[in-house]
Amino acid sequence: MDAHVEHPGMPGDPFPAIRIRGLVKDYGRVRALAGIDLEVRRGEVFGFLGPNGAGKTTTIRCLLDLLRPTAGTVEVLGLDPRRDGVTLRARLAHLPGELRLPERGTVSQLVASIGRVRGRLDLRRRDELADRLDLDLGRRMRDLSSGNRRKVALLLAFLADAELLVLDEPTNGLDPLVQHEFLALVREARDAGRTVFLSSHVLSEVRRVADRVAVLRAGAIVAVGTVDELRGRARQRVEAWFAGDPPVAELEGLPCLAARTIDGRRFSAVLEGPIQPLLDVLGRHPVESLVVEDPDLEEAFLDLYAGTPR
């Protein structure tokens, strides 16, 4: 892959938050990243979508200089992670995907330890975040559930007061209320001018908060665009319960539907295009309930994953 090809929708920002060119990472004979090009603008929330194993964490670990690229260049906030790692990491906060936190002591002791290493600790902000995330700072680390550990990691990331937040699967294991609070924190960070790099395998989460999205598959970027652009390309699952028999012929005639199944009064399908024609049909018949939901990521971008050209 030519490292200098610009992706559509990625005008050359002279000072992007993240600029990745031709990033390749091999683990022995296994190629984890096969030449990634990516530009994240300052002040945006950037969704980094992909199924597990696509290379999201590997990319993030390269940003932090935990991994050394096999080939290609990485620039974060204009800095080289290897050469200027200390300066860079002072301006960056990381939430790891694999949560391996120390078992010793309490939450507030861990927060204080990280504060000493980072050189500052805003106690008011700490208490505010703990309150919003519903996290008890006095709990012992070893007693925390995985959801509470995630909250600790979130608190550490948002407490760092960093220009760039690199969040790897931040909402895994969080209950919906806290997920909601998390999305609010992300929006606040953006409003304060910070950049958020958010990796996830959950499409709906990224959709709700990201300005732009890249989709990663098997170590390569298969799509980059705004959420709206990708929304048009994403499939959705539709399920309708009719009061009587479904209008089979009309539904069969809709080109925007695929994988149609009819099971008694229940009709389900995958929506591949605009929803209006379907709504027109449904409007002419008594419908008891209608569900339109985001499919999982692989289903949503089936075409992309199948290797269809962008």
């Binding site: 670990r61 932090l64 935990l66 860079l88 010793r104 980072r118």
Partner: protein, 268 residues
């Protein structure tokens, strides 16, 4: 010391407190337990007769040629094998869990994602482990001096201080070896295998080579010989012995630190 540096040392030091306490208790019990038998041993004439009948080479191999003197008793019971081996094992195990063990568990990443260099994180862990070895040295020394006084084992304090210091430095050398392997591989398996394995090899070389005319001249290859070759319970050790142990440890730690800074950090 800045708060950052202090945290990078105090964190791993505190994380090892259970192991540190356990080693301290085992060391103290073993020393007190051994010295407690000294009065009965000294006064047993049967044992003296038995020892004169055993082949001198065998006695020498097990450090028992002078078992009825205070220095000989301490050497045979503690300082020929047990105490140096325990220092070496403690050094390897502290180093392994502070470095490769933490990396293997994915817990190093939290610190390495902060505005610190890899060397600072690695160095903090080195200082923490050396700190625990110093604590153990103080525990061993105190247990030894107190039980010597309590059970009437008469030996010059300076000989005990020097012997314990050399054993602790031997432990630091093997901790350095463990840190070197951890810096290169990041895996606790090779760290423990290399560290404990080479500690044992070092002992065997120092104990068995002197028994063979052909190999006797090569006993200096073992760091055990550097530490205990002059029989420090009896004779003062030359400064070169300290220098050799310290320089060896420093070189190994440098290898570990440089290797760690140059490679990928392993993920959990």
């Amino acid at each position: 010391m800045s708060g950052q540096r202090l945290q990078l040392v105090a964190g791993p030091f505190g994380a090892a407190w259970r192991a540190g306490l356990a080693w301290s208790v085992v060391f103290a019990l073993m020393i007190v337990g051994t010295v407690a038998f000294w009065p009965a041993f000294r006064d047993s004439s049967d044992l003296g007769d038995l020892l004169t009948e055993l082949p001198p080479a065998l006695l020498e191999a097990f450090g028992m040629e002078d078992l009825l003197s205070p220095a000989g008793y301490l050497r045979g019971g503690l300082y020929d094998v047990v105490v140096p081996l325990m220092f070496a094992a403690a050094g390897v195990m502290f180093a392994s869990s502070a470095s490769a063990g933490e990396e293997d568990a994915g817990r190093l990443e939290l610190w390495l994602a902060q505005p610190v260099t890899r060397q600072a994180v690695f160095g903090g862990r080195v200082v923490a482990v050396l700190g625990w070895l110093a604590v153990l040295a103080v525990v061993v020394l105190a247990s030894q001096l107190v039980s010597n006084a309590a059970f009437g084992l008469e030996i010059a304090g300076a000989r005990v201080v020097e012997t314990v210091a050399l054993c602790a430095l031997l432990g630091a050398l093997y901790a350095g070896l463990a840190f070197a392997v951890a810096g290169i591989t990041g895996r606790p398996g090779p760290v423990l295998a290399m560290g404990l394995g080479l500690a044992l090899v070092g002992y065997l070389v120092a104990a068995l080579f002197p028994l063979s005319d052909a190999l006797e001249g090569w006993a200096w290859l073992s760091p055990w010989d550097w530490a205990l070759g002059t029989d420090p319970l009896v004779n003062p050790a030359e400064p070169i012995r300290y220098v050799a142990l310290l320089a060896g440890a420093a070189a190994l730690l440098a290898v570990g630190g440089i290797a760690f800074a140059r490679r990928d950090v392993r993920s959990a």
